[in-house]
Symmetry: C2
Subunit: 213 residues, 2 copies
């Protein structure tokens, strides 16, 4: 009955994947479906509605990995697997970045993924009163990372020390001077993401330990 809606979303996702979010217009989507632009409105409501639905679809994809996630017994590995799933999904569909922070995630799928993190934190021994806040902390970091990575904040400009420092007189950036050798090295982003996750896991463990005492 609403197969048409799915068809529209399929087309929109395909366009976003190959031409970016900017390529998603009512006209382009309509043409891909083989219909006039105005025919989309009864199905998705609005351009904003279309974008919301696209985001919902992506969150649904994360959610589909939930059964696999639930099987992982160690909460640390569960968090890590969840993070990697989300990251690799956003790498395949970089445009989600532009939608992630704009609307609260209220679809049933999104709630389910939040619940997975709740459970992981509870398994870790975090007191329930702290779980919602920590879930937001962890997921905010993950979203921030994902957005930075596919959005370009981690782009070359941020890294090249020569480019950054050339515009300022010497000695004004003592911090940069001190870490210069490691700035020049180049970054293994996969390793960095893992290291960050390890640190966050450690942080959660500390909080759980503190709560036990």
């Amino acid at each position: 009955m609403s197969g048409k809606r799915e068809e529209i979303l399929d087309a929109a996702l395909a366009i976003a994947d190959e031409r970016g979010l900017a390529g998603v217009s009512m006209r382009s989507v309509a043409q891909a479906v083989g219909v006039t632009p105005m025919a989309l409105y009864p199905h998705v409501g609005d351009k904003a509605g279309l974008l919301d639905a696209m985001l919902g679809r992506m969150l649904g994809l994360v959610f589909q990995s939930a059964p696999k996630l639930a099987e992982v017994t160690d909460w640390r590995d569960r968090v890590r697997l969840f993070a990697h799933t989300a990251r690799s999904l956003s790498q395949g569909h970089p445009w989600v970045t532009g939608l992630l922070f704009s609307r609260p995630a209220v679809t049933p799928d999104a709630v389910t993924t939040v619940d997975l993190l709740y459970q992981a934190l509870l398994d870790a021994g975090v007191p329930p009163s702290e779980v919602p806040r920590l879930e937001r902390l962890v997921s905010t970091y993950m979203l921030g990372w994902i957005a930075s990575e596919s959005g370009g904040r981690f782009g070359p400009g941020t890294l090249d020390p020569r480019g950054r420092r050339g515009q300022l007189p010497d000695g004004t950036l003592p911090g940069h001077d001190a870490v210069m050798p490691w700035l020049a090295e180049g970054v293994d982003w996969d390793a960095e993401f893992d290291a960050d996750l390890d640190d966050l896991v450690m942080m959660v463990e500390s909080l759980a330990a503190k709560a036990r005492a």
Copy 2:
């Protein structure tokens, strides 16, 4: 000489503040300056260039608090003050959110603020090889928070437990069930931000301690 450029940016920021990012068009900015749209191009290059310049201005404002920041001796308080400065700035100009993740921050001002965090982490005793990564971790969290807060991800829809759970059968959200009392309470976002910062500070301290051993 490039006073015109500043005038244009002033106008663009004013429009963004009162009408949002969507209200910033070449035409609207030009009209505010009292000039035709095409006259902006020599000064800002592009619409993208205009937006970049606007983001640069905002980062410059954070930077202007650097002298004050440098005076704070305890690195923990320095990080906290920095975070609060950035947060309150974004609360006054919510539109920066839409720009934060899109382009690497390469303006001299941005580099200077990064350097402040480098120094704080070095003062904390973090090994220099880990400093760039940790700076990215901390600033990614901060950016994520800021973007979530002014972008609407922390909006009402995400919180109301009734709304979230009504769409799913009972028992499928064990995590939510466990933390329900605290979900229903409502969130003090100021306190949550502070608590998050405390946790991150603690994490940095742990890493520094581990490095010393």
